[in-house]
């Protein structure tokens, strides 16, 4: 399978990228590592008229210590997030999840920003971002900047609150140094998308992100609230699928996904508690 024809340009700065994206109009798409977009293009499920390749904007590939948070450039590759010492120290959940995305080849090319901006409910990193309470920095036409909380970012199936012409530039992750954490990824083959995944951080309060439990990456709010209200792990986990409409596919029915979510949330909370510094 091969993509439909398209135009291609490769800006050398974020400013230039914004300009090219603006000129390209609605059918223009950003290309980072390409590991979310190119597979869709090969299947002809996406056919952008213009690809703006920002893959080598090294200015967007970094991990920085910003006091109470880590600032991670959107074009930082999964492999680099996985092995970064700052991430390992202050957001070990994120390092671990980055190491669970796809397979090694995917992790050598795919980027954290590309994965989040794609907004795939089956993707691992959005759930981690939700659990960690991350914020996304965005620049728009003319260099306008805004911050979007992870909880406000995912709007619909493969839809985010990124407006046309905007670029996700940075992921800001509050430090969770010493926090308990767990990532439970349930799949049938190691390389597959999660059938259900659960990312959890316990650091006084608890953040839980769910993979593949709806049309968008989700936060397990019912569980978080139950815990905040004093429920036991066991009791809280029973609410993991409350109000959710998980998808049906070859691997799982909605009913089974709901069951898995309850089991995996419980396991995640147990593991996070056991890891709690």
């Amino acid at each position: 399978m091969i993509p439909a024809p398209f135009e291609y340009c490769r800006p050398t700065s974020v400013e230039e990228a914004l300009g090219m994206l603006g000129e390209g109009g609605e059918d223009a798409k950003l290309l980072a590592g390409g590991h979310s977009l190119l597979p869709l293009m090969k299947l002809r499920l996406a056919a952008p008229s213009l690809l703006v390749d920002i893959g080598r904007l090294r200015e967007l590939s970094y991990v920085r210590d910003a006091g109470d948070a880590l600032r991670i450039g959107a074009l930082t590759r999964h492999r680099d997030v996985e092995t970064d010492p700052l991430v390992a120290e202050h957001a070990p959940l994120l390092a671990h999840v980055a190491g669970q995305v796809g397979d090694p080849q995917v992790r050598h090319r795919g980027t954290i920003g590309g994965s989040i901006a794609h907004g795939d409910p089956a993707s691992d990193l959005p759930a981690a971002a939700l659990a960690l309470g991350a914020t996304f920095e965005v620049v728009g036409p003319g260099g306008s900047k805004r911050s979007i909380a992870a909880g406000d970012f995912f709007q619909g199936f493969l839809e985010t609150s990124l407006a046309p012409g905007e670029i996700l530039t940075e992921i800001v992750v509050p430090k969770a140094t010493g926090a308990g954490w767990s990532f439970q990824k349930f799949n049938r083959r190691a390389q597959d998308w999660a059938i259900v995944g659960v990312a959890a951080v316990r650091n006084g309060s608890t953040g839980i992100g769910l993979v593949n439990m709806g049309s968008v990456p989700l936060r397990a709010t019912a569980v978080e609230e139950a815990l905040a209200g004093g429920a036991s792990v066991e009791e809280a986990a029973a609410h993991a699928a409350d109000g959710l409409a998980p998808p049906a596919d070859l691997n799982a029915s909605p009913e089974y996904r709901a069951h898995l979510a309850r089991v995996l949330v419980r396991r995640a909370l147990e593991e996070a508690s056991s890891r709690h510094g």
Partner: protein, 157 residues
């Protein structure tokens, strides 16, 4: 559009259609047919090559994205008539049968040992999660990689 890269040590510049995938560039433009195509969904890993020393599925990358990169394909692994230690280990341990997944499997293995020079069996198996083989049942592939890791000549080099 024009694209320049170094393939197996030789620099080259070609004019390509933007949508040309790296794997087709390598096979049809550069004439290096050792890199195989086994699927169309980035699942099988048969097309794995090294881009700047790291394993990448060349079916999920545009040739233009490799502009300026150093590419190593299976053809670039042996040193003259001398097989690379990883190739040698695959042969010694019967880590291939039909040989179609083999170039991608070998490149993935070379990349794996760069990252984990002395892996456990579990690490080897997980490290190969993106490469499918239909013949060997993986047993001998895993043995070959474990042996290569122990070989005196560093198989990751």
């Amino acid at each position: 559009m024009e694209v320049s890269m170094t393939v197996n040590g030789s620099p080259r510049t070609d004019s390509v259609e933007p949508r040309l995938l790296l794997v087709h560039y390598l096979r049809e433009v550069a004439g290096l047919t050792g890199t195989n195509i086994g699927c169309d969904t980035s699942s099988c890993g048969a097309c794995t090559v090294l881009v700047d020393g790291e394993s990448v599925k060349s079916c999920t990358m545009l040739a233009l994205q490799a502009d300026g990169a150093e590419i190593t394909t299976i053809e670039g692994l042996a040193d003259g008539d001398e097989l690379h230690p990883m190739q040698e280990a695959f042969r010694e341990h019967h880590g291939l049968q039909c040989g179609y997944c083999t170039p991608g499997m070998v490149m993935a293995a070379v990349s794996l040992l760069k990252e984990i020079p002395d892996p456990t069996e579990a690490q080897v198996r997980e490290g190969l999660e993106g490469n499918l083989c239909r013949c060997t049942g993986y047993h001998n592939i895993v043995q070959a990689i474990l042996a290569a890791a122990k070989a005196p000549a560093r198989a990751a080099s």
